[in-house]
């Protein structure tokens, strides 16, 4: 974090001598030295030296007479040398700024990952509890670690569901579909709701929206994890309304507390609730439908609907569960 704090202002603040000890204008080199306390590999050092050499060549080319020999030896050059290096650094920075931007991007995201495991667990549980106080703006933690892990967990669960239901993807791959669906939902719907919130004058930032929707996926994860293993449509509907409904209610309540005006609240929360619940419905049915279509062509249309369950690869436990479920369904 200290390295991150020092990096952001390097373009303008060239006052300190301590920044120049490497002889380079690039923060990347400093950061490598500070972070790699376990020892950089030979290749890392080589790359570093190459970059430093390139920078010095550029500096010498542009600064001209100010730098005649080794640019690192500052001691006797005094202020004039310092100024010369400042001019040179503006030009030599271009070389390293490409690599620098990669580290700068990481540093931008760093404060959003500053969480403790206890906090993550607390927020996961809170995401299922709708708040009662909607007249007072509720606090949303702008954190991205929990939502990102929840999206990846959803991808893993989706993959499991697609495999056990023998989903056949013709264009693209199973993994690509799962990742595209989950990340597309998280980023796309967050952006859309943020845009609507901007239109409806709701007090919410983009990171908070991403965080809110990400934690709302916890209900989806639980529902799909249970219903992909126990293939029973009524059970899915109960989970859809119960678990999905709870997490949607929580998100809706938080948004309502941050919006003024009845029409605006209705638009915003109606859209979010509809999208969230429909997404869960889609995730469950998109993969079973494929199997039903295939069973139809293979076994003919004479099968009664209750027996159309997903085909399983691990046959042992699921066969028992399914025969029990079928038996119960047929007797109902």
């Amino acid at each position: 974090a200290a390295a991150g704090g020092g990096r952001s202002g390097t373009a303008a603040e060239w006052g300190g001598l301590e920044d120049n000890m490497q002889g380079g204008g690039s923060a990347v080199i400093d950061m490598e030295n500070m972070d790699d306390t376990s020892g950089s590999s030979f290749e890392d050092m080589g790359e570093m030296h190459q970059r430093m050499k390139e920078e010095e060549e550029e500096e010498e080319g542009e600064a001209g007479a100010a730098e005649e020999e080794d640019g690192e030896f500052l001691g006797m050059k005094g202020l004039r040398g310092q100024l010369g290096r400042q001019v040179a650094d503006q030009g030599g920075k271009r070389q390293a700024s490409k690599a620098f931007s990669l580290y700068a991007n990481i540093d931008i995201l760093r404060p959003y990952f500053d969480v403790e495991p206890v906090q993550v667990r607390a927020r996961l549980l809170e995401s299922m509890i709708p708040v009662k106080m909607i007249n007072f703006p509720q606090k949303i933690a702008g954190e991205l670690y929990g939502p990102l892990m929840l999206v990846f967990t959803l991808v893993a669960i989706l993959l499991h569901g697609m495999k056990t239901s023998d989903t056949i993807i013709r264009e693209g791959t199973l993994m690509g579909t799962a990742i595209g669906t989950c990340f597309g939902y998280w980023l796309g719907v967050s952006s859309f709701i943020y845009f609507l919130a901007y239109l409806c004058n709701a007090q919410i930032t983009m990171v908070q929206m991403l965080s809110l929707l990400g934690y709302g996926l916890f209900g989806h994860c639980i529902t799909l994890f249970v219903t992909y293993n126990i293939h029973f449509h009524s059970l899915f509907y109960i989970f859809w309304l119960g678990v999905g409904g709870l997490s949607t209610l929580r998100m809706v309540a938080v948004l309502v507390s941050r919006t003024v005006g009845h029409t605006q609240r209705l638009i915003l929360c109606g859209t979010l609730a509809a999208l969230h619940m429909l997404f869960l419905l889609y995730l469950h049915f998109a993969y079973h439908k494929v199997v039903e279509g295939i069973l139809d062509t293979l076994e003919g249309p004479n099968m009664p609907p209750f027996q159309r369950v997903a085909r399983d690869i691990p046959v042992v436990s699921n066969a028992v569960l399914n025969t029990t479920a079928k038996a119960i369904a047929l007797t109902l």
């Binding site: 790699d36 306390t37 020892g39 403790e116 056949i168 042992v316």
Partner: protein
């Protein structure tokens, strides 16, 4: 010191000199020696380094050899062999027996990159390639599991074989996760180890799932 009071050095005169300590006596010799040695020696040295790291993964102790001299040969070999072994399904358009080669490759490398970025963002002190190296080498137990699964599937694909495969894959998955945690968790602040371990757990879980659900056509 009184005599030096009126001595002034103009700022325009640069002072020359060398402050480097002559250590150059060793490096030219080393350069020549590795250039002149037979190719077999060079290859054997790299192979021995890779082999030593494999042993470190199979018996994870708290040594820093894996971290100090990272290399990506081992992960590449493991990734390619795992992807090749997962290829067995036929290219029939109706039955997609297994993941494509590119899919496995991309999952492993992008997964490792995401975990590395996550551990750096959480304040880890390990560098990018060191983390990639550790995660790649810890795929070794799962590759062994894949080999065992293929051999078991040659014998038959009934319930018994499924149970054997399940046990083997679960054991190797646990081993992989423990091995990589032993190397990576030390570089994190102590109260955030769980936050770093969870994505590693997910990553190896996805790979184990691909191995377990593999059925040759």
């Amino acid at each position: 010191f009184a005599g030096l009071a009126d001595v002034s050095i103009s700022e325009n005169i640069p002072v020359e000199g060398e402050i480097t300590v002559p250590v150059g006596s060793h490096s030219p010799d080393e350069d020549y020696s590795t250039l002149d040695e037979p190719v077999r020696d060079t290859i054997m040295r790299d192979l021995k380094a890779v082999g030593k790291k494999f042993i470190h993964v199979m018996y994870p102790k708290k040594s820093s050899a894996l971290l100090r001299d990272w290399d990506l040969w081992g992960p590449l070999v493991l990734c390619v062999s795992l992807a090749l072994m997962l290829q067995g399904g036929s290219a029939d358009s109706k039955d997609d027996g297994g993941p494509q080669f590119a899919e496995v490759f991309v999952i492993i490398w992008f997964g490792a990159v995401v975990i590395t970025l996550n551990s750096k963002l959480l304040g880890g002190t390990i560098s990018f390639f060191q983390s990639l190296c550790v995660l790649g080498y810890c795929v070794l137990p799962l590759t062994v599991a894949m080999l065992v699964c293929r051999l078991v599937l040659l014998a038959g694909s009934g319930t018994v074989s499924f149970i054997i495969r399940l046990i083997v894959v679960v054991a190797m998955f646990g081993w992989s996760t423990l091995a990589s945690t032993a190397f990576l968790a030390d570089s994190q602040p102590p109260n955030r180890k769980a936050l770093v371990v969870y994505p590693i757990f997910l990553f190896y879980f996805v790979i184990s799932w691909m191995i377990l659900t593999f059925t040759p056509q």
